[in-house]
């Protein structure tokens, strides 16, 4: 066996750390999707009629749509009637405060390293925890509300701030935008809502933590972030799921609205269960994330570290409508074993002097396939638009694949668009050099990979960066020897 092969062997032997599940009593809908299920979900949430109508419209459209097959991923047909669309851990009544939350639930999050007890939380991070379909706790609500910031579960927002939800829901990702967005719009069960009023700089990181627990259940959450004029917020999203033999579906939607001079930073560390080393099980992650820089001088920045999921289909995008607005996409996507990722971004330049920057780092190991797919569209009106894209791929071994699909449409001659791409392999030379200095193989790989991904990792908020670095190492553990 060559050295590279040994390296691969070892890397592929790693285990998923968050692969346990807890038996809660759950409040569930029967498997399958139809109008009644949607009515059931809407009723459970005590939703207003307009929202039920919105869901039903999305559902109708969804039934007429076709699942996209253009991504560079392969998976068997999904049996949408076999999925449960609603599962909530049973709580006696809706908790009013953290003290009333089921201690088992709190423990579940503790095990994930996320304490929902406010005193124990790292200072500077407020958390909304979503388990299966339902938000179970939101921390630091009072502190935030003094500034007029609304940070709560989506269901709560529907009850407490219906006018805001009605105004922005579907304004960035229309209910019928694409197959998975339509499905989400029909059956979404919860998620996070965040509203930053004019002129307010959110003093702490806001964070949502998603956990799929129940078997055979899909997770369909929605996040809506509205940043009013001159406001600023940094938002974090993390996720894990138990280890199960069957594939589970996750189809989320994230919408961001940025008004004039507003700035939103959205960071994700995605660690859904990737399946075992033979490719059995794992999450199908079909996510639509989009932000609109509606006002002049606004800015939206996406940073993602994608380590999990069996199949990932995800293109966090920016619509740069306001003049001088800016969009950024920083991504590290790691695939190992049989994981498949097709991820990238769209930067749609509409306003004048709009700028976008794309930095994508793909790392492939095992028999995985890792694709970057990105679109830069400079529209007619976008005078002096600029884009810079850098797409680097790092391969470990020769059984994996890295692919780059850049699409560039320029309709205005004043645009400057730059695209750079590199592909490299982790060399035996590099690993031997590290080993000669006393660094074992696994740490050597972690070091090299983190070095490769550094430009993206440095964009993550501190608390997240450390976790993300460890995750990269864990995902690739055993890949090099």
């Amino acid at each position: 066996m060559s050295k590279d092969d040994q390296i691969l062997e070892e890397f592929t032997s790693k285990e998923y750390e968050h692969g346990w599940s807890v038996d809660f009593e759950a409040d569930e809908a029967p498997a399958g999707i139809n109008e009644d299920i949607i009515r059931f979900i809407s009723a459970k949430k005590e939703e207003p009629q307009w929202l039920l109508d919105w869901r039903l419209k999305a559902f109708k459209k969804w039934t007429e749509m076709k699942e996209p097959r253009w991504p560079n991923v392969k998976y068997p047909d999904i049996d949408y009637q076999g999925v449960k669309y609603y599962s909530a851990p049973k709580q006696d009544k809706k908790p009013k405060s953290l003290d009333e939350v089921d201690p088992e639930l709190l423990k579940t999050f503790e095990r994930l390293g996320i304490s929902l007890t406010e005193q124990k939380r790292l200072t500077g991070v407020a958390v909304d925890a979503v388990i299966d379909s339902v938000s179970v706790a939101t921390t630091f609500k009072e502190t935030l509300s003094e500034l007029g910031i609304i940070f709560c579960s989506f269901s709560e927002a529907v009850q407490e701030h219906p006018e805001l939800v009605k105004k922005y829901l579907g304004s960035v990702v229309p209910a019928t935008d694409n197959y998975f967005a339509a499905l989400n719009s029909a059956v979404f069960s919860d998620g996070s809502f965040c509203y930053i009023p004019s002129g307010v700089r959110c003093p702490m990181e806001l964070s949502t933590y998603f956990r799929i627990n129940a078997a055979n259940t899909g997770q369909f959450e929605r996040t809506l972030i509205v940043a009013e004029e001159g406001s600023y917020v940094s938002y974090l999203e993390g996720c894990t799921a138990p280890q199960r033999d069957e594939n589970q579906l996750h189809a989320a939607v994230v919408e961001i609205y940025a008004a004039k001079d507003a700035e939103v930073k959205y960071s994700t560390v995605q660690n859904w269960y990737p399946g075992d080393k033979n490719g059995k099980g794992g999450i199908y992650n079909f996510v639509t994330k989009r932000g609109i820089c509606d006002g002049d001088n606004s800015k939206i920045s996406w940073t993602q570290v994608e380590t999990g999921s069996a199949v990932t289909w995800k293109y966090p995008s920016c619509i740069l409508k306001g003049d001088n607005s800016q969009g950024e996409f920083y991504s590290v996507a790691v695939t190992n074993n049989y994981q498949q990722a097709d991820t990238g971004t769209k930067m749609i330049h509409i306003g004048k002097n709009t700028k976008s920057r794309i930095v994508s780092k793909g790392i492939s190991a095992g028999k995985s396939q890792n694709s970057y797919r990105g679109q830069v569209h400079i529209m007619k009106r976008a005078e002096n638009a600029r884009n810079f894209s850098q797409c680097d791929s790092l391969l470990m071994g020769d059984k994996c694949g890295a692919h780059t699909f850049p699409y560039i449409d320029v309709e205005n001659n004043s645009a400057q668009v730059e695209h750079e791409a590199t592909t490299s392999k982790i060399g035996e030379d590099q690993i031997f050099y590290c080993q000669q200095r006393g660094i074992d193989e696994e740490s050597a790989v972690a070091l090299i990979v983190n070095g490769f991904a550094k430009e993206v990792m440095s964009k993550l908020p501190m608390e997240f960066a450390v976790e993300a670095q460890k995750l990269l190492a864990l995902t690739l553990e055993g890949s090099v020897g």
């Binding site: 031997f432 080993q435 006393g438 070091l447 070095g451």
Partner: protein
């Protein structure tokens, strides 16, 4: 400290080392010279544990242990250091970060506590003086875009940080101008002690004016064909390698 006995090694089915015998004692400096392609770097790589080289025959004992049994990082933990002829680039990883990992893993392997950031930086500051290396260089990605001289100096800096027992310097002099050569040699000399040993691989005599060897060996076609003291290096400088080649051919 080190005893190499009848060592044969091959790569891709081709025998490169054809029976090396060498003994190095604590406190000694050995120079290995020889024309290009003789197998000097191969010997260094085999000692450091590079896996692409197959050991066909022979043994290597280091501090009473079978060196060939140990993984490369275990050899490093046991105090074996190789200054590479061609140091490797690691993009995005600073020398500082790299060395912090290296020093702490080595310390852990030896049952010592890892150094925290503050103590590590303190040690680094001291060692930086030894080889006159700049902080700015250490913050840059390891060896990436370094000049030849910077790479070599960085190797010796790493050696200073890791405080090895047996150092193997593979052509550390190549690509250095005379000032840099003096600095590097000076660093190596300061690190010398009665408890450690150095093997200097070079094919110029020049370096040996600054790092004075106790023994000089000529490696040619995978064998040590001649050994002597410092004067052998001078003889090689004057007469070149042809007379050695003729001697070997005559055998």
């Amino acid at each position: 400290m080190l005893k190499i006995d009848n060592l044969h090694a091959s790569v891709e089915g081709k025998e490169i080392l054809k029976g090396i015998n060498l003994e190095v004692k604590a406190g000694e400096v050995h120079a290995i010279m020889g024309p290009n392609g003789s197998g000097k770097s191969t010997l260094a790589s085999v000692l450091a544990g590079r896996e692409e080289y197959e050991i066909e025959e022979g043994s290597v004992t280091y501090q009473g242990k079978d060196l060939l049994e140990l993984a490369p990082e275990e050899r490093a933990h046991a105090g074996v250091f190789l200054a590479f002829q061609y140091p490797v680039e690691i993009p995005g990883v600073s020398t500082t970060n790299f060395l912090k990992t290296a020093v702490n893993q080595t310390r852990e392997a030896r049952g010592l506590k890892s150094l925290d950031a503050v103590s590590f930086l303190k040690v680094m500051k001291e060692k930086m003086k030894l080889v006159d290396i700049d902080q700015a260089l250490l913050s840059r990605a390891l060896n990436e875009g370094f000049s030849g001289g910077e790479k070599k100096r960085n190797e010796i800096f790493q050696m200073a940080m890791l405080e090895p027992t047996l150092s193997i310097l593979d052509e550390t002099d190549s690509g250095l101008d005379i000032d840099a050569l003096k600095i590097v040699a000076d660093g190596v000399n300061k690190l010398k002690s009665p408890d450690n040993a150095t093997i200097v691989v070079t094919h110029y005599q020049r370096l040996l004016d600054y790092i004075v060897p106790d023994y000089v060996h000529v490696l040619y076609q995978g064998r040590i064909v001649k050994s002597g003291d410092k004067s052998l290096a001078h003889e090689l400088e004057d007469k070149g390698y042809d007379w050695i080649k003729e001697e070997v051919a005559a055998l």
